[in-house]
Amino acid sequence: MKYLHLIWRSLLRSRRRTLLTVLSLGVSVFLVATLQSILGTLDGFAHNPDSANRMVVRHKTSITNVLPFRYGDWLRQQPEVEAVMGLQWFGGIYQDQRNFFANFAVEPEYLVPMFKEEVRGVTEAQVRDFVRDRTGCVVGQALADKFGWKLGTVVPLQGTIFPFTPRLTIRAIFRGKRTADEMALYFPYKHLEESIPRMKGKVGTFWVRVRSADDVPRLIERIDHHFSDALEPTYSETENAFQLEFLKMLGDYATMIHTITAAVLAAILIVTASTMAMTIRERTTEIAVFRAMGFTGRQVLGLLMAEGVLLSAMGGLAGIGLALVTAGAVRGNIGTSIPWLSDFQLQPATLLFCLQATLAVGVLSTFIPAYQAVRRPIVEGLRSL
């Protein structure tokens, strides 16, 4: 530790160079940290532990086809089943297409039992109001905050898939675990059925809550087998798998992000190696002087490596710091286009990876020029001016 001032001061030799290197490292690490965290956040949705004992039943052909409502009765008869709820994606627009949020028509009496973990803070009285009022609805706190809605506010939605414009009165506002869960609106199924004749007796999906997560695979098989010959065959999967299907729709985002990450890390390595090589070459004489004074080759190597690692660590920390500071902005901006990202969070595993990567870059980029410099005979180093 007595050498610390030497190492630190060496970085200040050329303040400009150190600053520029730290900046370009920092910017690159910030990008990698943010992109990988985006992947991590999205992944989290497909691996939600709370979803373990829920599954989704939909039409085998496509999510856009409908199933008969009476399937729900058969589902409720299954011994493993705790609750069943019909759910139809409504896809209505509030004022402007840019105000996009998820809205669904559901069987109101089963909403809370089904989503015990996600729909919380709703009183019994509010649930009763919701069930009784055909034109009522339940919204999440985050959504209510966004538009300044309160209990009793009337929310008009413009149907896109279904040609009608329900005017829904907020009967309850719930709190969930994630912001994404709170950006949703639910209204009673009967309202949809009454307004759209072709939806009478039909629904898009059934959500099923099972007593124990272990029962899920068995139940999935039984359901799909039971309805396999029907006119509307089913396809059942766990809630996580269902989410995953939607995520997969985002296509090769994962590949694109991993490719960019690899490319950026390679670029960082090249740039830092070049900087360290330049720096070390300029100190050829000084290195020889140190060794003449009595520093062993290993000691000098250690000092140079420490300098390189310190430089990259500074860049890495700067990048992580920048990512932390802008996380909120990222959430706000991209969170509106890609709904899952309204819960965007920097993943600790990602930040750790970034730190490790920058340290590795520091070591790798410094090692070769430092080793070469130390191997050079002292007299050669002294001779070169």
Partner: protein
């Protein structure tokens, strides 16, 4: 087109540099040789810039590919008629009598086979990937023969068009090898029938390259539907298109709306917005990093050559010539990286990928197309980086006094 705005400052800057090189004695060969004397620094900075430019080109190609898939799908003399507020074909229904009324409209164009109007049906079906990794939703469009004639960008490459009265399908070439059962001569099972594939077409990367086509009546029968989804019409006189749209919108009996075909697809590119925004963000951030790196290299170059610069000044070169000289050096460095990056991006050319149209949840495939135009943009971008990153160090160099030539 905001990229062109970005390139605007290039013009005066390059103009000045060119003028400086011609009018004054800027020692360009000296700069070129100096770059090669510091091989490690030059090559590594150029490599970093190559990476950034490659990413820039690929991201823009992605962006373009997405826009192309939607926008180029339409003609400016054709209109799509949908149920009011339906926004996408999937959500729209059109009754038979509405279709009859529209087909009789005198504004529509006609050709030898009849009026150029096609009542169409748009549904989604599930198909399995050829590699067995599962499946996804794909769009199926039922159309009338007029619909094929109206979409003249679509060409048959194998087999023949479907026969309107039979259970037959034609598929896009791009999809034929990605999904099971879509090759010519094979067949797929859908809505309780077998549909042999009788033809393969190419829609030049437009939206139609992600759709399976068949006869509209057959499709409706199979899906037990009595109503169409939409109608595509062509106007005899393209200038009457806005009028036609107003007319349809105003008609209270019909409760329909019409959109210019180009607009209809244009609106759908909203789906690609997140990718584009993300892509631009990534590029912007990386550019900043690359500019810092280039600045670093140039500052080092200047610092290491103070004696040389002093000598140049002693020889009679003026400050402005030194400034131009080092600015040129930065340009040379960065454009080397730019060229390398553009070539690197070529490696992505032709790679097929797909995303999902969030409105219909169906597969949209497109290919990365690295055009010469995009590559040129990449190089222009690297020149921009060279100007930005090189300016301050060049300014520094120009301020080095003559006396430095004497110092060691």
């Amino acid at each position: 087109m905001t990229t062109w705005l970005l390139f605007l400052p290039l013009i005066p800057a390059l103009g000045w540099l060119a003028w400086a090189a011609l009018r004054h004695a800027v020692p360009l060969s000296y700069n070129w040789r100096s770059l090669w004397q510091r091989k490690v620094a030059t090559l590594s900075t150029a490599a970093a810039i190559a990476v950034v430019v490659a990413i820039f080109v690929v991201v823009r190609s992605l962006s373009q590919g997405i826009s192309h898939a939607f926008v180029s799908s339409g003609r400016s003399d054709q209109a799509v008629v949908l149920r009011a507020n339906a926004r996408v074909e999937l959500n729209s229904t059109l009754e038979r009598d509405q279709v009859r009324v529209l087909k009789a409209d005198p504004l529509l164009a006609r050709d030898a086979s009849g009026v150029l109007a096609s009542a169409e049906c748009y549904v989604i079906m599930m198909l399995d990937y050829a590699d067995g990794t599962g499946g996804t939703n794909v769009a199926v469009r039922g159309l009338e023969p007029a619909g094929i004639r109206m979409r003249d960008r679509v060409r048959l490459v194998q087999g023949r068009w479907f026969n309107p009265g039979l259970w037959e399908m034609v598929v896009p070439a791009r999809m034929a090898w990605r999904f099971q059962g879509l090759r010519l001569g094979q067949s797929i099972s859908f809505a309780g029938h077998r549909w042999p594939i009788v033809g393969v077409f190419d829609a030049e990367g437009s939206a139609f390259d992600s759709e399976l086509w068949t006869g509209v009546e057959q499709l409706m029968q199979a899906r037990k539907r009595d109503a169409y989804s939409t109608m595509l019409v062509r106007l005899a006189d393209p200038d009457r298109l806005p009028g036609f749209i107003r007319q349809v919108d105003a008609d209270k009996r019909l409760k329909l709306e019409a959109k210019a075909e180009t607009d209809y697809y244009g609106e759908q590119t909203e789906a690609g917005k997140p990718i584009q925004v993300l892509g631009n963000l990534i590029t912007a951030i990386l550019t900043l990093g690359a500019i810092f790196a280039a600045m670093n290299t140039m500052y080092s170059a200047v610092a290491g050559r103070t004696a040389e610069i002093g000598t140049l000044r002693a020889l009679g070169f003026r400050r402005v010539e030194i400034l131009a000289s080092f600015q040129w050096e930065a340009l040379m460095l960065c454009s080397m990286g730019g060229l390398a990056g553009a070539l690197l991006a070529q490696g992505f050319n032709g790679i097929q990928t797909s995303t999902v149209n969030f409105q219909t949840f169906s597969d949209v495939s497109f290919a990365f197309t690295i055009t010469p135009g995009l590559m040129a943009q990449g190089v222009a971008f690297s020149i921009l980086m060279g100007l930005a990153g090189g300016f301050l160090p060049a300014w520094r160099a120009s301020r080095i006094p003559v006396t430095e030539a004497m110092n060691s």
